[in-house]
């Protein structure tokens, strides 16, 4: 039942898209610039350990690539990326999963991270420059309008982002568009095992806090 509920996410828009985006952008601006303060979710290296990331890959990254990580699962746990694959990271934040992906696909592959928060983009781009990676780039954009051409990606990854989007069907339609036929979607997100009352689902403050 829980797994059916996780897939059958509600199709109706419960909150105003732009209002939600602004609230999410503000929350993740805080995670970008003040990563060590307390949030209602875990962050950084302790979270990566909790979610089962391979220590070698995490340990190899500088603090600025990991400290603002705020994912909810491990998008690499059900399938390993292959060398040479093209990857799109939807909601890339400060770039943690993009940099992990870059290590897996190697220099013959390519990773494009997409995020809507300027402070996160500045951080991920700065880390890319620091690491000297030329197969990782970050673009400003929304999950519902991914700035990547049709059928470009072998894999789309995402971590804790789709649950923060008002129009989830639009996100899945966009992911399908940028994937090559036969391409993989591997993402992590939260799902509830007990129903959330309608008034709580419509309370925008509960989406981010």
């Amino acid at each position: 039942m829980l797994r059916q509920r996780a897939i059958a996410m509600t199709a109706e828009l419960l909150v105003d898209t732009e209002l939600l985006r602004n609230q999410v952008r503000e929350k993740y601006r805080e995670v970008a610039v003040e990563p060590h303060r307390a949030f209602h979710f875990h962050t950084g290296r302790p979270l990566a350990v909790r979610l089962g990331y391979e220590p070698d890959g995490v340990d190899a990254l500088p603090d600025r690539a990991v400290e603002s990580f705020a994912g909810v699962g491990n998008p690499f746990s059900l399938r390993a990326l292959q060398p040479g694959e093209r990857v799109v990271d939807v909601g890339s934040g400060a770039g943690f999963d993009s940099f992990i992906a870059a290590g897996h696909v190697g220099p013959t592959g390519e990773v494009i991270g997409i995020d809507m928060t300027p402070e996160m983009l500045a951080k991920s781009r700065g880390t890319t420059e620091m690491l000297g990676l030329d197969h990782v780039t970050f673009r400003e954009g929304f999950a519902e309008a991914i700035p990547v051409e049709d059928r470009w990606a072998d894999v789309v990854i995402s971590n804790g982002v789709i649950n923060l989007c008002a129009d989830k069907r639009a996100v899945f339609d966009e992911i399908l568009r940028v994937l090559k036929p036969g391409g993989w979607l591997q993402f992590a997100d939260i799902a509830n095992g007990r129903p959330v009352p309608p008034d709580a689902r419509a309370d925008i403050d509960l989406w981010t806090g």
Binding site: I7, H40, F41, G160, F172, I175, A188, I190, A191, G193
Partner: protein, 45 residues
């Protein structure tokens, strides 16, 4: 919803107690919220 969008071969991983001992743990427990990994494919032609 993923099936409606056209994805196939959908697999869901085991639940992870991602909010345990975090500030949001109580609210997460109230609605049995966990993190999950998902895997799916775009069909080949």
């Amino acid at each position: 919803m993923m099936q409606e969008a056209g994805f196939i071969d959908i697999t869901i991983g085991d639940p992870v107690d991602t909010f345990a001992e975090a500030g949001g743990a109580e609210k997460a427990a109230q609605f049995d919220v966990h993190g999950y990994s998902f895997l799916a494919r775009r069909p080949s032609p």
